[in-house]
């Protein structure tokens, strides 16, 4: 495995989860969730706390991260998002409200770090979680386990949407909230479920992320543009598109940074923020509906046609 690919895969799985969460929340509640940043960071700190205080492998605490993220999501929905949705607030207002929530969460993270330092003599502001990683076949486990876990979670979620009655009603509400309402579905429950799943995915994604990079209180804040880039690359209206988009952005970032740094020197590392910007610019200007808008079905045929055209 190329050296960048190992952590690249972990990071890409993290972005797939977070970008998927952003997309899910957007297609259900019209909310661009800024709080994804600090929800992700909280997920990391839950796993960190468990690992350093109670021992064992970080993976044991990942379910807790997910649950904590769900809790943060529920609080956001009940306290903030629901009242605004009832008022039919504008998209920009919904977005601002999650920004406020994010800052409150960030404040909580910083205070919690101080508390950890003071009470347990820990150094929670620069954490290398991968040093707690287990080993499989003589190499670190995370590049194998985490992508698989992400795929597993997304498969379960897919089955839930495709097969269960509540899952179908969720799709129905996303597509046509009005008709879903008059058919007797309670959109409130659907939105709550979206925040439970979306919040959980955000925090779990944050826990994943800390296995690929240094965990800091602003980890989520720094990577938020990448999460949004993934969601936008996915077309913003398609859940699976968002997940794929996040994954691609993650891989592209690690790959591009690695090879460019080999070519041009380490100074390249400082400009990685240009990558999500570039991706967003390309998507928005060239194919505005993202990956989901591409004609996947007819793509091979069209490509083949184009090739034949070139030959003849």
């Amino acid at each position: 495995m190329a050296p960048w690919l190992a952590s690249g895969l972990v990071y890409a799985s993290a972005l797939a989860l977070t970008a998927g969460g952003i997309t899910l929340l957007y297609i259900t509640t019209r909310t661009f969730n800024f709080a994804h940043a600090s929800m992700a960071t909280w997920g990391f700190y839950v796993a960190y706390t468990g690992t350093v205080l109670y021992g064992g492998s970080p993976y044991r605490y990942f379910p807790l991260s997910f649950l904590f993220g769900s809790l943060l999501g529920v609080v956001c929905y009940v306290g903030l998002n629901r009242p605004l949705l009832r008022r039919r607030a504008a998209e920009i207002t919904l977005m601002m409200s999650t920004l406020g929530y994010d800052l409150v969460l960030l404040s909580g993270i910083q205070i919690y770090c101080d508390y950890l330092t003071h009470t347990f003599r820990l150094f929670p502001r620069r954490v290398t979680m991968s040093s707690y990683d287990a080993e499989i076949f003589g190499m670190s486990a995370s590049p194998l386990i985490l992508p698989l876990t992400a795929i597993l979670i997304l498969t379960v979620f897919h089955l839930f949407l495709a097969k269960t009655k509540f899952g179908i009603s969720m799709r129905a509400t996303i597509e046509n909230p009005l008709l879903a309402g008059v058919s007797g579905m309670n959109s409130d429950k659907v939105y709550l479920a979206a925040w439970v799943v979306g919040g959980g995915m955000a925090s779990l994604g944050g826990a994943f992320m800390s296995m690929a990079m240094t965990g800091t209180p602003v980890m989520g804040m720094m990577t938020l543009p990448f999460m949004f880039a993934g969601a936008i690359l996915g077309g913003l209206y398609s859940l699976y598109g968002g997940i794929l988009g996040g994954f691609l952005v993650g891989l592209a970032e690690y790959g591009a940074v690695y090879y460019l740094a080999m070519l041009g020197g380490p100074w390249v590392l400082g400009y990685r923020m240009a990558i999500p910007l570039l991706i967003m610019a390309i998507v928005l200007l060239v194919f505005p509906s993202g990956l989901a808008g591409l004609p996947w079905g007819s793509l091979p045929r069209k490509l083949a046609g184009a090739m034949r055209g070139v030959k003849s």
Partner: protein, 236 residues
């Protein structure tokens, strides 16, 4: 159901003005009127979809203004909207399943069989996405979804649009049968005014958000002035 002094619209935009209406139980009440008169808005405000500024909607002696749509649906009101009345991304069977969302499993399956008997064509599309159906097929699915709920009150918006005349006639007869055999109250908005007024009991003519005529359906049909100007029905 009674509607008292209703002012309703969307956001700040008023569409209905001081509307008084009575929808007697076990009867078909027909609402006709030109495009943009506010017929759809009337149904939307009963269902809690449009904004109600003032006035009341009283259903079974209870004031239901402002109840959210899903509660109204569970009180036995079934609404077949004019547009966006099927879930395009869901299969036909999933659509029917969603329409009877809170029914038990057995009851649900029975009902699905019953409504499919009414529209046998739908059986052959059962696994297909509703978005791939033709206009008329979609309309049939929407009506089937409306009937899934064994309602007490049905709000039907532009039932016959998109349907071939023969199917439209069958649907109208079906509506009449709902009233006659099951005693369902129907509020019917229709462009095919003639046929609708024939099966209807009471009629309202809505123009620019206000009631222009109320009375027996037959009377409106026979009123030479109104039926010619607003309904395009020639005197016979």
């Amino acid at each position: 159901m009674n509607i008292n002094r209703l002012y309703a619209g969307y956001g700040k935009f008023k569409v209905l003005f001081d509307l008084e209406m009575e929808v007697p139980a076990n009867e078909i009440t027909v609402v006709v009127g030109p495009n943009g008169a506010g017929k759809t808005t009337l149904l939307n405000s009963i269902m809690g979809v449009a904004t109600v500024f003032s006035g009341d909607v009283v259903y079974q002696g209870k004031r239901i203004t402002g109840t959210p749509p899903h509660k109204a649906a569970r009180m036995g009101i079934s609404y077949v909207p004019q547009m966006g009345n099927v879930f395009a991304g869901l299969s036909v069977s999933e659509n029917l399943q969603m329409a009877g969302y809170w029914m038990g499993k057995n009851e649900l399956n029975n009902r699905v069989d019953q409504v499919l008997d009414m529209f046998p064509v739908l059986r052959q599309f059962i696994g297909r996405k509703a978005g791939t159906l033709s206009g008329g097929e979609r309309r049939m699915l929407a009506i089937a979804m409306g009937l899934m709920r064994t309602p007490k009150l049905m709000l039907l918006d532009e039932l016959s649009t998109d349907l071939a005349p023969i199917i439209a006639k069958r649907v109208m007869n079906e509506v009449a049968r709902l009233r006659n055999e099951l005693g369902i109250t129907v509020l019917l908005v229709e462009q095919m005014a003639k046929r609708a007024l024939e099966i209807g009991d009471t009629a309202y003519l809505l123009v620019s958000g206000q009631v222009r005529f109320r009375g027996k359906a037959g009377d409106l049909l026979r009123d030479p002035e109104l039926s010619r100007v607003y309904l395009g029905i020639k005197e016979s």
